[in-house]
């Protein structure tokens, strides 16, 4: 079935050409397989609230909770996937808007599991908008593409000049302890991000494309010895970016490191990018939290609470 809007455009991506067969179960893009989530945050009487919530299963958000002890004014929304993961033929759209002067934190309930596939693919389109003076932390938990899975994700971001966005993906190269062929055993992982200003000026774009059998995955300068990588984007005004970069210490020991990480400048003074690679998800999460803490302190002057014990 052809879907309208951005999901329809994703269908035409070159890397999906070989994955167009219909699942033996529900057909691709059928009702029940098209998840839809729209979250709108705005400032009401000095408080950031979730004023707009629209969801269609398998995506679910119930309500904003104010449980960040260091930022009690921060609405926190975990995205729940009632399907227990992404299946072949699933199509998701997620739109998040943070209005003028508002703040929000969006996460996911758990790892984003992309299940094994023998037909079709799964795709996701995201719009993330942060208006003037806004602040958004959108940090989904780790994505785990199972062997034989095909996943395409496209994220279009619009951030105002004086707003701050922290957004990024962590990826574990399969259920590494589950099966010998699981590590980078997926067929396709295609993730792209485009960043623009509200007027439409493009500041930054990046596409990560990993196809099955790419021999460079085993190279030392790619993923040898590591199973997890993260790319975390911090779009923020140049002064804040300079302070964050100054404070973040590059981590690259030459003696069998658990994780390596560093921060680079984006083109067009758009902000920073944290690059992190590690052995286990918690090794990379530690690097992401180290960056996140500095970003929050420099952008909002608030600390980051200790990680909850259940993580």
């Amino acid at each position: 079935m052809t879907l309208h809007g951005p999901l329809g455009l994703l269908d035409t991506a070159r890397e999906l050409r070989g994955f167009q067969t219909e699942p033996a179960q529900m057909r691709a893009g059928a009702p029940g397989k098209v998840g839809r989530l729209r979250l709108g945050f705005s400032l009401r009487d000095g408080v950031s609230v979730l004023h707009d919530l629209y969801r269609v299963a398998p995506l679910l958000v119930q309500q904003a909770l104010y449980w960040d002890e260091a930022m009690p004014d921060l609405p926190v929304c975990p995205i729940i996937s009632v399907g227990g993961g992404i299946l072949q033929g699933d199509r998701y759209t997620i739109d998040i808007t943070v209005g003028e002067g508002a703040c929000a934190h969006v996460s996911t309930q758990g790892a984003n599991r992309i299940h094994c596939m023998d037909a079709n693919y799964a795709a996701q389109h995201q719009n993330v908008t942060v208006e003037a003076g806004g602040y958004l932390e959108y940090l989904p938990d780790v994505t785990i593409p199972y062997r034989g899975s095909r996943f395409l994700s496209r994220t279009e971001i619009v951030v105002a000049e004086d707003a701050t966005l922290l957004y990024g993906e962590m990826v574990l190269a399969g259920r590494k302890h589950h099966h010998a062929e699981e590590r980078f055993g997926f067929d396709l992982l295609s993730m792209d991000v485009t960043l623009r200003r509200p007027g439409g000026r493009k500041l930054f774009a990046e596409k990560i494309l990993i196809e099955r059998g790419d021999p460079t995955i085993a190279f030392a300068a790619v993923m040898r010895g590591f199973d997890v990588f993260a790319n975390i984007l911090c779009v923020t005004p140049p002064g804040t970016a300079a302070r964050i970069k100054e404070r973040f210490e590059t981590n690259f020991s030459s003696d069998a490191p658990r994780a390596v990480s560093g921060v680079s400048r984006l083109p067009d003074a758009a902000g920073l990018m944290l690059r992190a690679v590690g052995v286990e998800t918690y090794d990379v999460r530690n690097e992401v939290r180290r960056f996140w803490r500095i970003v929050r302190e420099e952008a909002r002057g608030r600390p980051l609470p200790a990680e909850p014990y259940w993580r």
Binding site: E206, K207, I210, F219, A221, M223, F252, V260, G262
Partner: protein
């Protein structure tokens, strides 16, 4: 030579054409490549590259990556140059630059791009290059190296596969020149690595020739950390 014996075939596009392609591929072309190591300096400091055996995959990865990003922009710019489509040149240039993370990687791309445009203009003037350089100087376009190469080589009559080879060769020779100054390796070893690495150029070209600018992609997480690493080390010989 006896009468009636076939003569040696001339180079297909003329011998001066081949000679000038060699000139623009030469690692001594003064566009500042000597100042950049494309991450090799950090790769050596962190033990990602330690010797000739680990240098070859590093060079191969750089070629694999640059083909799928800069190489795509180069092919689009070359087609735009042949069609006298100056908006197409700017589009290729901007799309490439907005995908380059890391201030030193950005510097490598634009500094060498500008120097090549200046050099080419000096030795073989063309109205398109004149306008291109003016656009770089007025900040209308970033002026990335592959776009300058595309304009210059299209002007010399090189086809896009030749321009692609020149570009890929330039990246490999830049890293290997840096290797001679950074690590224990001799000229014979670097030439052997260069010879081996060049074997992949046609496959790389075929893999990217149909890609749109939006399809430029890469995946080299540890390399990306090296890029960040280099900006924070105190002792260094190279600008990236």
């Amino acid at each position: 030579m006896r009468h009636g014996e076939p003569r040696a075939r001339l180079a297909p596009h003329g011998m001066a054409h081949l000679a000038r392609l060699l000139q623009f591929s030469d690692s001594t072309l003064p566009i500042g490549a000597f100042a950049f190591s494309n991450g090799l300096e950090s790769a050596l400091q962190t033990g990602i590259v330690t010797d000739a055996d680990s240098l070859l995959p590093f060079v191969e990865l750089a070629l694999h990556q640059t083909a799928r990003t800069d190489g795509v922009a180069l092919l689009h710019a070359h087609r735009a140059a042949l069609a006298a489509d100056e908006a197409g040149l700017v589009a290729a240039d901007r799309e490439l630059f907005c995908r380059r993370v890391g201030e030193e990687q950005q510097l490598m791309l634009t500094r060498m791009g500008k120097k090549l445009a200046e050099l080419a203009l000096k030795i073989s003037p063309s109205p398109m290059l004149t306008r291109w350089l003016a656009q770089i100087r007025s900040n209308e376009t970033p002026g990335c190296l592959p776009v300058a190469q595309a304009i210059t080589l299209a002007h010399l009559g090189a086809d896009e596969s030749e321009a692609f080879v020149v570009h890929q060769y330039g990246i490999a020779s830049m890293i290997l020149s840096a290797a001679l100054r950074l690590m224990r390796i001799d000229h014979l070893e670097t030439q052997r690595i260069l010879f081996t690495a060049q074997g992949r150029v046609q496959d790389d070209y075929l893999a990217v020739r149909d890609l749109a600018l939006e399809e430029m992609a890469s995946f080299a997480p540890v390399f990306d950390v090296l890029v960040a690493h280099h900006t924070t080390v105190h002792v260094r010989l190279f600008m990236n």
